[in-house]
Amino acid sequence: MKLDFSIGQGADIVVNYILDNFTPALDAIAATIGFVANGVQDLLVAIPSLAGIVILTLLSLWRVGWKFAVFALLALALVEHMGLWRAMMQTLALVLSATLIAVVLGIPLGIAMARSQRVAGLVRPVLDLMQTMPAFVYLIPAAMFFGLGVVPGTIATVIFAMPPMVRLTNLGIRQVHPEYVEAGLAFGCTPWQLLFKVQLPNAMASIMAGVNQTIMLSLSMVVIASMIGAGGLGNHVLTGIQRLDVGAGFEGGLAVVVLAVILDRITQSLGKGGSGLFRRLSLRSAAASPAGKSAGG
């Protein structure tokens, strides 16, 4: 018991020390994240709901297929009908800005892990910690450092959602066929050339899977993030729980699911380099072209 107490006290001291001594740094971080998160949110909320529905439906048609586009159209119309469009855009903004930050931080970290066994050894337990530590534990310090609102919500989301981005970047680079790497080196690549011309392009599928997972994990944080004022659909679920209003909670949850399904399918298709209607059209035109690629077999 005594030990447990002293660790808790230690954490307190650390948090207070940071608050006392690093306020300018914290402010700078808050300003940066706030700029990204609010910028994305202002942009998305400004789009009229009708235009938003059309854009997402077209994206579904392009990346996934016409059946899915029909589903997306109906589901989005339902969200609009429930009066949750604005909340959904706030949530989307939170997810996108958290993902953006996770990508910007996670890819270089994943690359560093792939290059150095020592970095990998240091980073791996930190990632485990980020994923297993209950979110409430860092929600409190996040609120203490950054106040309430979108910024701490985004930070908490990034902490929870970034690990797969790092892991899958690392894995993707390590899994590049060793002969590709040998070819790169044999033709005189510098380490940077090897990274950008050989490793990253061939790790792209894995990296995109990381983006997809990060988005999905961000979505699973929306309710928790709204507890510290991140707003969006999480708020509706939360008030539903607080007031025991099953209907409101269900509507908010349904909208989260709609957003999740659409984002999932669209981002999954990114790693595979296109599918659906447009791909079939472009294949057809390639087959019709006189280049005679079919003779290649």
């Binding site: 002969e179 040998e182 044999a186 005189g188 510098t190 061939n202 280049a291 290649g296």
Partner: protein
């Protein structure tokens, strides 16, 4: 292949010189290296230290312009030896000179320059980058070395043309068949115009017909612009077909280096011999290998009168003589009887009239298997000439039978 001869009189320069190179894989390279230097076997070293000896005290020279084949069973260290030459694998000890520079002591930067300018590589499973078009794959080496886009595309196009794949420039690698992919691999390696081409089992993944085709292609490209080729293979027929010299490895050591026929006729040990158990010697030996000068009288056509030629033939006891020009080129073969007859008939040009009819020389590079029939049917010995027409000797029925018998 014709560089072989120059190589042997030492007029050809040394391109790669490796001295006492060792490669130890594992955590205790120092101790393993000491044991290896003391001559202990690979298996004992593995048991004692947990380290694998990849290459064990290899010293050799590769001549400029030759095709040097590294052969051996799986795990004998062929790929490791090849990768030591461009330092994809770092040697544990020893020195490797390329064009007089010791690459083992080169800085990273110089090494990159060397790889860009001086050497390139062809891989067993092609290693074409799937995200690039065929043309961009071929241009890869040039792109990496910073050549401007227009220029490198032109060069890559030229390299693609050399392997006959111009129409596929804008295809993706996965749209090509295996043989075509490896042509692209070859074009990529040739595009940078390297002095040395490193090829690791480059044709092993191809089916037999395509494989032979690619071997011919390599020999052709080699003849057009003579590069030094270091070729890893585990296939003896391939080694024989394309190799000027063959280096045979066993457990990381080099057990023999020699020309194909040296290796067939004087194998260093049973391991080497075991490779040849099923080899058809008539494929290995070329006409030049068994042609002998002593069997016929050689007469220089200009300056030797027909009468004195006849006397020479009588003195040496040969029924036939070969007429050559001042430059050593083959002109024709005459028989003693015919020459006597023509001399009696006061022919204007007795030599010309005494030529044996329908008696065409054999090219020196022809495998014995292709000339068995002709030698068997011919009543006279058959002359053998080099590509430039120089007479190098003759083959008789008895000499051919003797060779086949000795080697068999």
């Amino acid at each position: 292949m014709s560089d072989l001869q120059t190589g042997h009189d030492g007029s050809s320069s040394v391109k790669v010189r490796a001295r006492n190179i060792y490669k130890v894989f594992g955590d205790e390279p120092e101790r393993a290296l000491k044991m290896a230097v003391a001559g202990e076997a690979k298996s004992d070293i593995l048991a004692a230290t947990g380290c694998t000896i990849g290459v064990d005290n290899a010293s050799f020279e590769i001549l400029s312009g030759e095709i040097f084949v590294i052969m051996g069973l799986s795990g004998s260290g062929k790929s490791t030896l090849l990768r030591l030459l461009n330092r994809l694998i770092e040697p544990t000890s020893g020195s490797i000179e390329i064009g007089g520079q010791d690459i083992t002591r080169m800085s990273r930067r110089d090494l990159i320059t060397l790889r860009r300018r001086e050497m390139s590589m062809v891989f067993q499973s092609f290693a074409l980058l799937p995200n690039r078009s065929v043309l961009d794959n071929v241009a890869f080496g040039l792109e990496v070395s910073g050549m401007a886009e227009g220029q490198r595309k032109d060069k890559a196009m030229a390299a693609l043309e050399a392997v006959g794949l111009t129409p596929y420039a804008h295809s993706r690698p996965d749209e090509l068949s295996g043989g075509m992919k490896q042509r692209v691999g070859l074009a990529r390696a040739l595009a940078t115009e390297p002095g040395i081409l490193l090829m690791d089992e480059a044709f092993s993944a191809l089916d037999p017909l395509i494989r032979t085709e690619m071997q011919d292609e390599l020999i052709r490209l080699q003849a057009e612009s003579s590069r030094t080729v270091v070729f890893v293979s585990h296939d003896l027929d391939e080694a024989m077909r394309i190799g000027d010299r063959i280096c045979i490895m066993q457990h990381g050591r080099i057990v023999q280096i020699g020309t194909p026929d040296e290796i067939v006729s004087k194998p260093a040990n049973d391991y080497v011999r075991s490779f040849f158990r099923n080899v058809d010697v008539s494929q290995v030996f070329k006409a030049r290998d068994i042609a002998r000068k002593s069997r016929l009288t050689i007469i220089e056509r200009h300056g030797v009168s027909a009468a004195s030629a006849l006397r020479q033939m009588e003195r040496s006891g040969h029924d036939f003589a070969v007429l050559v020009g001042r430059d050593g080129r083959y002109h024709g073969m005459i028989s003693q009887d015919l020459l006597v007859e023509k001399l009696r008939g006061q022919a204007a040009d007795p030599y010309r009239e005494a030529f044996l009819p329908e008696h065409h020389p054999i090219p020196a590079a022809e495998p014995l298997s292709n000339i068995l029939g002709r030698v068997a049917e011919s009543r006279w010995p058959l002359p053998v000439v080099e590509e430039d027409g120089r007479y190098i000797g003759s083959i008789s029925k008895s000499s051919l039978l003797e060779t086949l018998d000795r080697a068999g």
